[in-house]
């Protein structure tokens, strides 16, 4: 259950790509332990928004505060926040020249300065948790898409992040593999992790979201609990979108 403390504060965030304005003043706060699902048509700015939270994209106006630290151009702040915020990508982005074990232990060893033995122990525990301990010594190219995405989740968790961002984690997967990834994410949500999830999986949103944000044209059009959202949407854009995908 979400706590009382705001762990992410986003206040009037604006972002342009050249002349195109991708974010038009996004304002929302995320509480500790809250699971926020972000939906919306493609090009609506939902991925851009969560990429701003760990500064893979740089916002030009407004204010983002993550765990009490404001995102500015100060490099040390950015590296500190990035090590607290895990991110899972649509294309997995595992490092193809490293084994699964090396993928997971790299950042704990070099960023968190854990010893190799400790890092490997944690990594094995995480691989157990995502259900593929037997793949530890394989290379990413030898795994299925679903397995790769589960390794990517384990890799993010190895940093013991306080927040996890998911950027369409199941969109590049074959249908039969979507469930295995969603199961891991559901388990994670129940364990009390703060999560921001951009997804088209409405079942996931209904089941675990504390709050659903609907993005369109670079802003939040409608926000609410899943019950509100799927049974009683208010805005015309929301109704249209839901009618198209459900």
């Amino acid at each position: 259950m979400p706590g009382d403390k705001d762990i992410i504060i986003s206040d009037g965030v604006k972002k342009w790509f050249g002349d195109f304005q991708a974010l038009k003043g996004v304002t929302t706060n995320v509480k500790e332990g809250e699971v926020v699902v972000i939906i919306g048509p493609s090009g609506s700015g939902k991925s851009t928004f969560i990429r701003c939270i760990n500064r893979l994209e740089v916002h030009q106006e407004g204010r983002i505060v993550v765990d009490g630290v404001e995102l500015t151009n100060d490099l040390r702040n950015i590296e500190k926040i990035r090590s607290e915020v895990g991110m899972v990508f649509q294309q997995f982005n595992l490092f193809p020249h490293l084994t699964v074990m090396q993928n997971i232990t790299l950042a704990p060893i070099w960023v968190r300065k854990h010893t190799r033995a400790d890092a490997e122990e944690t990594a094995m525990a995480l691989l157990e948790r995502v259900g593929i301990p037997e793949q530890a010594d394989k290379f990413p190219g030898q795994l299925s898409g679903g397995q790769q995405q589960r390794v990517a989740i384990a890799r993010s968790l190895a940093m013991e992040p306080r927040i996890m961002l998911f950027d369409e984690p199941t969109s590049a997967l074959d249908p039969e593999m979507i469930k295995e990834v969603l199961d891991v994410m559901k388990e994670l949500a129940r364990s009390g992790m703060t999560m921001l999830v951009v997804t088209h999986e409405m079942g996931f949103a209904k089941e675990v979201a504390d709050r659903v944000l609907f993005f369109d044209y670079g802003n939040i059009v409608e926000a609410g609990t899943p019950e509100h959202f799927f049974t009683n949407p208010q805005h015309d854009r929301t109704k249209l979108f839901l009618s198209q995908i459900l």
Binding site: N54, L56, E79, K80, R82, S83, V85, G86, M87, F89, Q91, N93, L94, F95, P96, H97, T99, L106, A107, W110, V111, K113, H114, T115, K138, F139, P140, G141, Q142, R155, S156, M159
Partner: protein, 582 residues
């Protein structure tokens, strides 16, 4: 209404063996499939016959002076190196062969091959021998000999295939036993050839060294871990270069060098003070102070070239600057801290040792300056040029792809300038102008200047190859690395650079090959490399007059053997690293 169709496929169904094609069927399908293809095939066969016959007739003609080559082997190999000190070159070769034997064992080179493949290779060598006997316009002795060897190999090849019987496609033959056989055959040939007994003995010892070190490598693998053995071996290979040329072949006399008054105190001071500094900087608690200290060291390392001081201090300051920049990134835990300080101490000792050796006069009597020549010099230039150009090239590539304009500008300017200039110009430039850039008291000899010129030239090309690799890395790799909180240096060292280098192996190998051959241009600044020996020195020996063609053909074959093996090795490397590629 259509019936639903279900195809019952059971697991037990095994695909039947592919029908094997006979030689006639193969020829009909591949050479004579249509009228036009038949005409083309026959035409090409005729061309091959004409070419091979011409080549063989040339090689085996009565007037060829092939005996010049074994007689002048010492010149080809080492040129003017004193005969009395030849043991030193043998020791050098021995060091390389021992390392090669260990590497073959530790990298587990060569798996197994199937009798079919082995038999096919033997058969085709045998057929080549028979063709030589049939086509060559050569003395009958040679023709009969070639025919006999060819027939024996052909029959041996057939026998291997027959004996294997049903199991001829199973991989049962160790490649290492095949290599051992070849080595033994070469040994026998060496003892038959008309060369000095001393040389025969030395060559035999070298062969034995190779085999023994291979066996030793197997033992080593049982005692220590593979990763450790490989790491140590790479270090030994890098060390072998200065050891062979600075110590073994130069025979330095250290009497005139101020070891006790300058070198030892500076080395100890750097180990203690530098080690302390690095310990503090890698603790993770240094913060802003650490950054400031690193900046001071970098400025000192660059500034010391403007004022007069011992070369050793300059080099050690440069090394300290490198370590200082890396320390905060790779330090942190107590173990990492210890490793950094140990690595630093070893680096200081090695640098100091080789600086002493460099400043020492050579102990070889009656020779000064460039006494290294022949194939020996060609290797020195190629290998040291490559080793030095590698870090420079990578730095240039990173500079050119950097987000900082000043680095980008400098790297791009350097790369485009050097690539726009012929190597000969760079060699001349290096030979005549390099001293202007160095402090007054430093005098470089021609070989060192040539190495510097080749390395600087090659670095520009290498930088472009590496840049290609860096640009081929998907954006997601950078994003994932950043999202995990890796710093830019860590991202480059662990994520982007390894992937970039692996993806440009073919381009880098192409560059290594051309670097190896381009070293022959140093003849223009008066050095006696292998090609110059073959072109100028050997054919002008009174006893070898008129042997230019033979000598050049020999040089050609030697160059080809080395470059061909480099490209085969790179193919192996590519296949091996391909594992786990997406």
């Amino acid at each position: 209404m259509t019936e639903p169709f279900v195809n019952e496929i059971s697991e037990s169904e095994v695909a039947p063996d592919k029908p094997s094609a006979g030689a006639i069927r193969w020829a009909r399908e591949n050479l004579f499939s249509t009228f036009f293809n038949s005409v083309l095939s026959l035409l090409m066969l005729a061309l091959i016959v004409v070419f091979v016959r011409g080549l063989l007739s040339y090689v085996f003609a009565e007037e060829r002076l092939w005996n010049v080559i074994p007689r002048n082997m010492k010149l080809y190999w080492t040129e003017a190196y004193p005969v009395a000190e030849m043991t030193r070159t043998w020791v050098s070769l021995g060091i390389v062969l021992v390392l090669a034997g260990l590497s073959l064992a530790i990298w587990k080179v060569g798996g197994k091959t199937a009798p079919r493949q082995f038999g096919r290779t033997l058969t085709s060598i045998g057929i080549t021998g028979l063709v030589v006997a049939l086509l060559a316009d050569a003395p009958s002795g040679i023709r009969v000999g070639a025919a006999a060897v060819g027939a024996v190999l052909f029959l041996a090849g057939q026998a291997v295939r027959m004996m294997a019987g049903e199991r001829f496609t199973e991989e049962t033959i160790h490649i290492r036993s095949v290599l051992l056989g070849i080595l033994l055959i070469i040994g026998v040939i060496v003892w038959i050839l008309p060369i000095e007994t001393g040389t025969k003995t030395s060559l035999t010892i070298q062969g034995v060294l190779l085999i023994v070190s291979y066996l030793l490598g197997g033992v080593v693998l049982r005692v220590v871990s593979e990763g450790l053995a490989r790491g140590v071996l790479v270090g030994l290979w890098l060390l072998s270069l200065p050891v062979v040329y600075l110590v073994v072949q130069r025979a330095p006399v250290t009497a005139g060098v101020p070891v006790m008054s300058v070198f030892l105190p500076s080395a100890v001071a750097f180990i203690v003070l530098g080690g302390g500094l690095l310990w503090w900087m890698s603790s993770g608690k240094a913060g802003e102070g650490g950054r400031l200290a690193a900046g001071v060291v970098v400025i000192a390392a660059l500034g010391c070239w403007l004022v007069s001081m011992p070369m050793l201090v300059r080099f050690l300051l440069l090394a300290l600057a490198t370590f200082a920049l890396a320390a905060p990134t790779f330090g942190g835990t107590g173990k990492a801290q210890k490793n950094i300080v140990i690595a630093w101490s070893v680096a200081v000792l090695i640098t100091a040792y080789f600086m002493v050796m460099m400043q020492a006069e050579t102990g070889l009597v009656g020779l000064q300056g460039e006494f290294i020549g022949g194939l020996n010099l060609t290797f020195l230039l190629a290998v040291s040029g490559l080793v030095i150009s590698f870090p420079i090239g990578i730095m240039l590539a990173l500079g050119r792809t950097s987000s900082m304009p000043i680095f980008r500008l400098l790297s791009t300017g350097y790369i485009e300038t050097v690539r726009g200039v012929p190597l000969i110009t760079v060699l001349f430039f290096g030979n005549l102008v390099i001293n202007r850039f160095l402090p007054r008291e430093v005098e470089l000899d021609n070989i060192v200047k040539a190495i510097v010129a080749i390395a600087l030239f090659s670095a520009a090309y290498l930088a472009e190859n590496v840049r290609g690799g860096l640009q081929s890395i998907p954006k997601g790799q950078y994003e994932a690395a950043k999202a995990m909180g890796l710093s830019t240096v860590q991202m480059t060292v662990f994520i982007t650079l390894p992937q970039a280098l692996r993806s440009v192996i073919p381009a880098i190998v192409g560059q290594v090959i051309s670097l190896f051959k381009d070293t022959s241009l140093v003849a223009i600044i008066g050095l006696a490399d292998f090609l110059r020996v073959a072109r100028d020195i050997v054919p002008n020996q009174p006893a070898s007059l008129g042997s230019l063609q033979e000598s050049l053909l020999f040089a050609m074959v030697i160059y080809w053997i080395f470059t061909f093996n480099v490209s085969r090795a790179s193919l192996r490397l590519e296949r091996k690293l391909g594992v786990g590629e997406r």
